[in-house]
Amino acid sequence: MGTKPFCDACGKVQPPSPDIDYFAAFGLPRKLNIDLSALERSFYRLSRKLHPDVYAQATQQEQQWSLEQTSLLNDAYRTLKNSIARTEYLLKLEGVVLEAGKSEDGAAKESRVPADLLEEVFELNMQLEEMRMTRKMGEDDPQLRKDLEKAHIDFESQLAASDSNLQDLWTLWGTALDNEDTARKSETKDQMVALLDRRRYIRNLVRDVNEALEA
């Protein structure tokens, strides 16, 4: 069974291949630098051809397949158009387990979070808590507010920096893929995992700081 949604010979809709990935659904290589407007155009073009409405008069089998193809296409588009979801998806395809927990042999996984980031996250959480408590007592600590506003700017810029670093890693990944450089691929994968971990912490911090400042 091919990865194309239509039969080459008769042009009829086919069931989705069970092992098709979202990149293949769009005929794309497993690279992360994606032309988003081209992706959108492909999405609309394929959607129009695969939509169940087109198959209203077709056999039940074809209706079913068109539904499955459309559903796959929607999931694929939603995942690929988002830079973080796309990166996480690729890492999953490449065998990276992003969820916390124990590895299969039962040994605890090494902490992937750098110690200095943890210290920073912990300290900021302490500050946030202090601010919430001060507020509760009907007071406002101007220094604390200043600190938090500074932290907010700092974390926003870290977030922006991590996005630009991520794009650099996408390019490295693409090159490693083209050169079939396994060592470089695995190195880039690890770097992407570390970056996403860090990014999640920062994103949560930005959210918490925003809440504390708005409360």
Partner: protein
């Protein structure tokens, strides 16, 4: 998803919240985090240098109810245990005690990591190497 009564109890009345003097040689500090949910957990132990018994344990956790309950329970459990006994506590014990659902198992993993990190820190401070410990265990048997 509903939290179990035990989780709610630990969440509402967390045991041993606070901190110990990080610079003391008797104190081991473990700071761990789960990037998936953004939780951070600090667990500290104060160890009697003569008996290696954990006499005091404190924690501070920023995270969900299960993470707070897991670390609260962890401090309760390590208190009164020796370093060796405390190393035997696993996340599965915590999952069972708190009846954590599968989506919250990582909170218990975090608590186990925190215990180990705190013990590791204490060992490092006191020059206890893994090898020496094995020798000690062999001698004890």
């Amino acid at each position: 998803m509903a939290y179990s009564d035990k989780v709610i109890d630990h969440y509402n009345n967390p045991r041993n919240v606070g901190q110990l003097d990080k610079s003391s040689s008797e104190v081991g500090t473990g700071l761990v985090g789960a990037p998936e949910c953004g939780d951070v957990m600090r667990l500290q132990i104060k160890v009697n240098p003569e008996t290696q018994v954990i006499e005091e344990a404190k924690f501070k956790t920023f995270g969900c109810g299960s993470a707070i309950a897991s670390s609260s329970l962890a401090t309760e459990w390590v208190k009164g245990k020796t370093i060796e006994e405390a190393m035997q506590i696993t996340n599965t014990d915590i999952v069972k005690e708190l009846a954590l659902p599968p989506v919250k198992i990582h909170c218990s993993v975090l608590a186990e990591d925190a215990i180990r990190a705190a013990i590791g820190d204490w060992k490092k401070k006191n020059g206890v190497t893994e090898g020496a410990e094995v020798a000690q265990a062999v001698a004890a048997n």
